[in-house]
């Protein structure tokens, strides 16, 4: 079955002329790539455009993908770069107002009871908001680490940064998320947050 073939074999078959097999790679990675684009761009329409552009770029450059790194890492790198290009092109809103208040997801301040507010769903919204307000250099590694579940080595390949830099960005990003949550929602007692 073609659908069970590893990425490398599919790539080789495409390069030898079976271009329709690219559909398998798109089906395999459409969700993780779209999710990544959505987390970076914060707009479904733009995320879909960016994901399509990333797949198209990957297809045209498929011949150069057979390096040491995996196809997945290579595709993530293309998608990340496409998203950064999209952000630069639209001259992204300043970080301090990255998510306008009326568009922001419901947060703890609107909840009457802090304990109730610490429910998982609201906590996720809160952390998403904190993440949205971070600088790109912290948001990207944190997104790849916590949402995509990639380790430091993969992130350093995708972002083309030394692993030590990725670790530092993760560390500072975590601290900034925590600071933002504590500053904006002092009612939330972090010690009472259930292990998630």
């Amino acid at each position: 079955m073609d659908s069970e073939l590893p990425d490398g074999k599919i790539v080789r078959k495409i390069l030898s002329g079976d271009r329709d097999l690219f559909r398998l790679l798109v089906q395999r990675y459409e969700k993780p790539i779209f999710t990544l684009c959505l987390r970076i761009l914060r707009s479904r329409e733009e995320a879909e455009d960016a994901a399509q552009t990333a797949f198209l770029k990957a297809y045209t450059a498929l011949g150069s993908s057979q390096s040491k790194q995996s196809f997945q890492t290579w595709l993530y790198r293309i998608a990340t770069n496409v998203c950064i290009d999209f952000q630069r092109r639209r001259k992204v809103r300043p970080i301090s107002s990255a998510v306008p208040e009326d568009e922001a997801p419901p947060v703890l301040s609107s909840a009457p009871d802090p304990r109730q507010a610490a429910s998982l769903r609201e906590l996720k919204n809160l952390v998403h908001e904190a993440l949205d307000r971070l600088e790109e250099k912290y948001r990207l590694p944190l997104t790849l680490f916590y949402i995509e579940g990639l380790d430091c080595a993969r992130i350093s390949e995708i972002l083309q940064l030394p692993q030590s830099t990725v670790k530092t960005q993760l560390q500072r990003g975590r601290e900034r998320v925590r600071d933002w949550v504590v500053r904006n929602h002092p009612d939330l007692r972090l010690g009472e947050v259930e292990p998630l």
Binding site: R19, A47, E48, H128, G149, R174, L190, V193
Partner: protein, 191 residues
Amino acid sequence: MNAKDLSCRDARELLQKPLLKAEEKALLRQCASSCHEYALEIEGALLLGALSGQPLESPSVLFVHEVMAKVEKVPAPVSLTTEQKWAWMGLAASLAIFTYFWTFVQSRFSLLPSPGFTLDLSMGPVREFFSELLGWLEVLSLAMQGLGELLMTHGPGNLVSALLLLALLALGLFASKLRKVRAPSRLRCLY
């Protein structure tokens, strides 16, 4: 190692893992109270842990179809094998060498008399041409021999061989340019 150090070591290890199990998160929470060095970072990690393991977002149902429609409009990707890359480099190097000798020969043949001139063979342009040509051929054959030995020893893919070929290419192009510039002044001297 005391309890605080152990706790910090655990925290450091757990902070490197993107996806934590429930018991690992519980351990990380314990570390936050005993290892003050990482307390802030641990609290941030626990908050961000809320985002882990979320279902992935789905694009529109037409996503794959749209991508494939665009893919069909672009040329099929090509992949050059190592042998093909070497063949292209060899071709480029040969072209450069050929360009050099072509300009070299051209500059010499332009010395041949145009109608109305009488060639004075005592000036020896033909002899000079052949002696210089033989000299260059000797240099070239030595260079190719050295290059061939290098390629035989190290095989294709060796960076030094690639750099040598590129250097040869650049040298050929540069020399042919020099030759073009120098030719008119030689003409003036001879006639």
